[in-house]
């Protein structure tokens, strides 16, 4: 029982971070209709930013956090301007390959600067834990859940109630019509990238606080799973990203915790199998919209 609860807590932690990253994938896909393969690597850059801040001096945690989010948002903005914007009217495959190129680029720049060995961030946010009965819960978990929930709700309000948010909805619905109604499509897409990348920055902070390590490939491995979560929930949908993220996180934690040792190697496989089954049953994900192809 104790183990089950602590496993579930692990799963919720992981799921929260997945959900934040999935949200970034989802928003960018919804608006720019592109699979941003470099999104995971933005997280990696964010964690390295935290690492550098820790190395430099004893900056207060909140400054480190702001630096991390700012670095990620700026990176997202720059990448969009330099690499994706020139390709706005070309085929989805060209954009996909460009995103892969950006992902390789970020990984290899990190590899050159920080080398391939894993760096540890022991000093970053250590809150200890509280115990409820027999169960010990790390305090950081509450921070992670709280942050995720606040961001999700905030984002939902932003999209539904502000002018910019509604512009985003309009662009994702119909780019051409939105433009005719006077929505600045280009700046809306840029804004989406900045928000998505800032979310990746928040995910980077939570990841660093919980797992305390980073190497140049952390982002791409983590990103691909978060991407799977986004698709599971239905790409382009905010609650979908939340559900997908938590489902995947829980499954991963439960399979690692409860499968016999000989089978734990396949824990990723369970998550992917679930994704396959979901897509076969519901081809556009759990909460995704079905699109009808017309002549």
């Amino acid at each position: 029982m104790q183990m089950l609860i602590s496993t579930i807590i692990d799963g919720l932690n992981l799921g929260s971070v997945y959900a934040l990253v999935a949200l970034g994938y989802s928003m960018v896909y919804g608006i720019a209709k592109m699979l941003n393969f470099a999104h995971g690597d933005v997280i990696m850059v964010g964690i390295y930013a935290i690492f550098v801040c820790l190395q430099m001096s004893s900056l207060p945690v909140w400054i480190t956090a702001i630096v991390c989010v700012a670095v990620c948002a700026l990176l997202g903005f720059t990448v969009e301007k330099l690499a994706y914007k020139p390709l706005r009217d070309s085929t989805p495959l060209s954009v996909l390959i460009t995103a892969i190129g950006v992902s390789y680029l970020l990984q290899n720049v990190a590899l050159l600067i920080f080398k391939s060995d894993r760096k540890f961030l022991q000093k970053f946010i250590d809150l200890g834990s509280v115990s409820i009965g027999d169960i010990e819960i790390p305090k950081i978990s509450f921070v992670i859940w709280g942050t995720t929930l606040v961001i999700m709700i905030g984002l939902d309000i932003f999209i539904k109630n502000t002018k910019m948010g509604r512009a985003m909805l309009a662009v994702s619905e119909d780019k051409g019509a939105a433009q005719l109604m006077g929505v600045n499509v280009n700046s809306t897409i840029s804004l989406t990238f900045v928000i998505g990348s800032a979310l990746a920055g928040v995910a980077a902070i939570l990841y660093a606080a919980k797992y305390k390590n980073v190497d140049p490939y952390t982002g791409s491995v983590f990103g691909i799973k978060a991407f799977a979560a986004a698709v599971f929930g239905g790409i382009g949908s905010i609650p979908g990203a939340l559900i997908g993220g938590f489902t995947l996180g829980l499954i991963e934690a439960l399979t690692i915790g409860f499968l016999p040792d000989t089978l734990t190697a396949a824990s990723d496989g369970v998550a992917y199998a679930l994704l396959i089954i979901m897509l076969i049953l519901k081809p556009s994900g759990l909460l995704g919209k079905k699109k009808i192809e017309k002549v």
């Binding site: 896909y29 699979l35 690499a83 020139p86 390709l87 009217d89 070309s90 085929t91 989805p92 495959l93 060209s94 954009v95 996909l96 390959i97 460009t98 892969i100 190129g101 950006v102 390789y104 680029l105 990984q107 290899n108 720049v109 590899l111 050159l112 691909i224 991407f227 799977a228 698709v231 790409i235 000989t262 089978l263 190697a265 396949a266 824990s267 990723d268 496989g269 992917y272 199998a273 994704l275 396959i276 897509l279 076969i280 081809p283 556009s284 994900g285 192809e293 002549v295």
Partner: protein, 338 residues
Amino acid sequence: MKSIINRKNITRLAVAVAIWAVIALLMATGIMSRSLQSLTIKICYYVMLTLSLDLIVGYLGDLSLGHAAFYAVGGYAGGAFALYTNLPFIPTFILALLIGGVVAAIVGFLISKSILKLRGDYLAIVTLAFGEFIRSFVKIIRGLGGTKGLIGIESYSSRIVGFSLSYIVVLLVIIAIYNFTHSRYGRAVTAIRDNAIAVESVGIDIKKMKVLVFTISSFIAGMAGVLFGFYKTTLNPSDFTYNLSIEVLVMVVLGGMGSIRGSVIASVVIVALPELLRGASDYRMLIYAVALIAMMMFKSNPKLVKYTERLGAAVDNLKKSLTRKAVSDKPSSGGVSK
């Protein structure tokens, strides 16, 4: 009905044999360094992988990010066969190749059957999921070595043998793909890519064609996996991550989709490039990444595209005027050069 034996085909065969002879000679005399010799075998299975993915992406127009799965299935099936039987080398090699191909084809058939409803990016993600699923599934099968990998597959007696065998397989694959893409089926497949709804309305069964292409493609990818197994003698689940699928996809796209020649050239260049850039080993992936982005921007910049088109037209004109001079005294016989 044209005869198979015509001047064009004989020239093609002669070129293929000449390439083989030159490389084999370079290997035999030791002019090629050991790493370059291994590289020739590596190029062979990469060419096969790229060609097989090009069938799906370039000809059929579906995006697959899980090609490594078929490669892994084929490699493991062929490798396990080679490991657990005791036949002389050549029969082992041929049977392993067939078994690897067939098992991969069966998996490809089943996967494509189950994902017929999916389109575009969802198809891409589900193929990616299949790739990772199969990879982690292999990890828990003890007979296949689990996470440690399948160790001790019989290797080629020498690099020349390895290269020659791989080369023959690649040639056969190229011929097969050429014939497929120029057949009635091949034309139907490219038509599906261009306009699926129109194709359906003239009575072509799209689903059947998709399954057919996936099956053929995974057969070839499976054989490539077998070549990989014989070359490396060990197979590890970490050899077959989605990064490999993406690498092959990059080769397909850079080679120009739906082009056999392009796929071959792109895979040769991209596999050989890191080896040639050894001096700048720290920066080679960086250079690769930048080149990739630059190439995509170049391709989608209308001004640059127009410029290259004009350049191409100029080169074509030059070629035409040259050949016209060369054959001006006799009328062209048979093949019209493109």
